[in-house]
């Protein structure tokens, strides 16, 4: 579904990624964990077509991400929920969800999908006509995920979906992620706070200073000294065990 090979990305003189290779198979949840500044967001922004690679390739379902505009990638089935959610605060919840379906024209199906999102996140139903900057952080995260779902993505990229959320809300968000996978969406999630991501991911990559430090299933990684160092090194944030 997503195949990244020897990816190098720079911002001017600053090197963000130095030779990353990773693979996300269809139907999987893959987690990339690592400390602040490791290059996690850059990885997702490059896959979504917002950042151009210096070298290497990102191939999504046969499309070359590095040569496509982000809006074309959304139409091809790749959606990103960026760090900080980026909901359209001056627009209503309803309008945010409608914008999620920008690439679609099947009105009846869109209406059904909006109902699905509102069933999944009932709190959005109560606030459907309100300006979305009135929502709490957790509600905004749910809106951001719901908005991304309305594009009917085949691959969903999530950048720190648990950042700044209370543990109970993190639980709801991850429940939604697992529901998505059950409905056939492939998920690539990036987290600094790894605990929750570890429990749902089929495969984990640990990213540090722009390189993949290690990878494997959570069973394989837990207990290795290097992993524990990386994992416990970043476990001080909210929602950690």
């Amino acid at each position: 579904m997503l195949e990244i090979t020897d990816l190098h990305v720079n911002y001017g003189n600053i090197v963000a990624l130095r030779g990353i290779s990773l693979e996300v198979a269809e139907g999987q949840i893959v987690a990339v964990i690592g400390p602040n500044g490791a290059g996690k967001s850059t990885l997702l922004l490059t896959a979504a077509g917002m950042v151009r690679p210096r070298s290497g390739s990102v191939i999504f379902a046969g499309h070359i991400s590095g040569q496509m505009q982000p809006e074309a990638l959304v139409a091809a089935g790749l959606s990103l929920v960026p760090e900080g959610r980026h909901i359209f605060g001056s627009l209503s919840v309803a309008e945010n969800l409608a914008l999620g379906a920008t690439v679609r024209h099947d009105r009846a199906e869109i209406a059904r999908d909006i109902n699905r999102v509102l069933t999944m996140f009932p709190v959005l139903k109560d606030r459907y006509r309100q300006r979305s900057n009135k929502l709490s952080g957790g509600e905004q995260q749910m809106l951001a995920i719901g908005r991304a779902m309305l594009a009917r993505p085949r691959l969903l990229l999530l950048d720190e979906p648990s950042l700044g959320l209370a543990p109970i809300v993190v639980g709801q968000v991850y429940e939604a992620i697992q529901n998505l996978r059950a409905s056939g969406v492939t998920v690539l999630v990036v987290e600094q706070n790894a605990s929750r991501a570890l429990s749902v991911a089929d495969r984990i990559y640990v990213l540090n200073s722009g390189v993949i430090a290690m990878s494997g299933t959570s069973g394989e990684l837990k207990g290795t000294a290097a992993f524990d160092a990386a994992y416990f090194g970043v476990s001080a944030g909210a929602g950690a065990p």
Partner: protein
């Protein structure tokens, strides 16, 4: 009675300024580009009327609308699209370049003298309302402006592309990440700014009965000031700022001592500077800026 007369003057001038400011504000809200070449769109509308003098009114109006919209789209395609990722200062300089380029093309083709154009001359007469003498041009200006603004509000609220433009104005990158086509919303914004500029040129040509290659310059400066007063990046703010600057200009014209009236614009800009000390972010803060708090 005198006051009412002034009020009508103020509202009609404010309406014209608001239309000009909306053109500037709309482009800025989406692209962070202050398009000083907007004045040349106004001028192009005027020269279309000049070139087609004698044609039926409907032909004149449609031709001017088409020319200004196409010129607006052309500016975007040729000058601004390649610079889309450049910083706002670069975009601003590019807009000056486009502005001077278009002015000098017209200068070469038509010369520097202002030229008379009979356009909507029948609107120069006044209507009497119980002692008030209101020029028909003012009535038409106010009515057309209100209709156009109502249409714009409906467009932004009700149409898919309008919603996409509001999203792009708030967070351009996120809009692209939900699938909004960057080129499409920007092209729409430029086409609308072309239509708005054309409306302003209709007013200017009907009011002055002439066109010249610099006819858009002072209007675009007023429009820029208006959109800053309203709050750069806020579309509603641009309209509000335009009305406010129009009201201030007419009030100064009416109530300044006679010997100071020739310097009216100096007072307008002085008030603008004082206003910025008080409220540098404008009356309505840009949505995008407010969200970041």
């Amino acid at each position: 009675m005198n006051f009412l007369q002034n009020a009508i003057d103020a509202i009609s001038l404010g309406a014209v300024y608001a239309l000009a400011a909306l053109g500037i504000g709309l482009i800025f809200s989406i692209m962070r580009l202050i398009n000083f070449a907007h004045g040349e769109l106004i001028m192009a509308g005027g020269f279309t009327l000049y070139s087609l003098v004698g044609q039926p009114l409907l032909v004149l109006i449609l031709a001017a609308l088409i020319v200004t919209s196409i010129l607006a789209l052309g500016m975007e395609r040729v000058a601004f699209r390649p610079l889309r990722k450049a910083n706002p200062a670069t975009l601003l300089i590019a807009s000056f370049a486009v502005s001077y380029f278009v002015q000098h093309v017209v200068l070469m083709l038509y010369g520097s003298r202002a030229m008379g154009v009979p356009f909507l001359a029948e609107l120069a007469t006044s209507v009497e309302f119980g002692g008030l003498r209101v020029p028909r041009l003012q009535i038409v200006t106010i009515v057309v402006t209100l209709l156009l603004m109502g249409g714009l509000v409906a467009f932004f609220r009700l149409s898919r592309i309008g919603l996409q433009m509001r999203a792009a104005a708030e967070d351009f990158n996120m809009a692209r990440l939900v699938g909004v086509k960057a080129n499409r919303v920007i092209a729409f914004a430029f086409a609308i700014s072309g239509v708005l500029a054309c409306m302003v040129s209709f007013y200017l040509v009907a009011q002055t009965g002439s066109v010249s290659y610099k006819m858009g310059v002072s209007m675009v400066l007023i429009a820029f000031v208006s959109s800053v007063v309203g709050g750069m990046g806020s579309i509603a703010g641009a309209a509000l700022g335009g009305f406010l600057v129009g009201i201030i200009s007419v009030s100064l014209q009416a109530y300044l001592p006679v010997e100071l009236r020739p310097y009216r614009d100096a007072f307008v800009f002085l008030i603008f500077i004082l206003f910025l000390f008080w409220r540098p972010e404008g009356l309505l803060k840009s949505r995008a800026d407010r969200e970041r708090v």
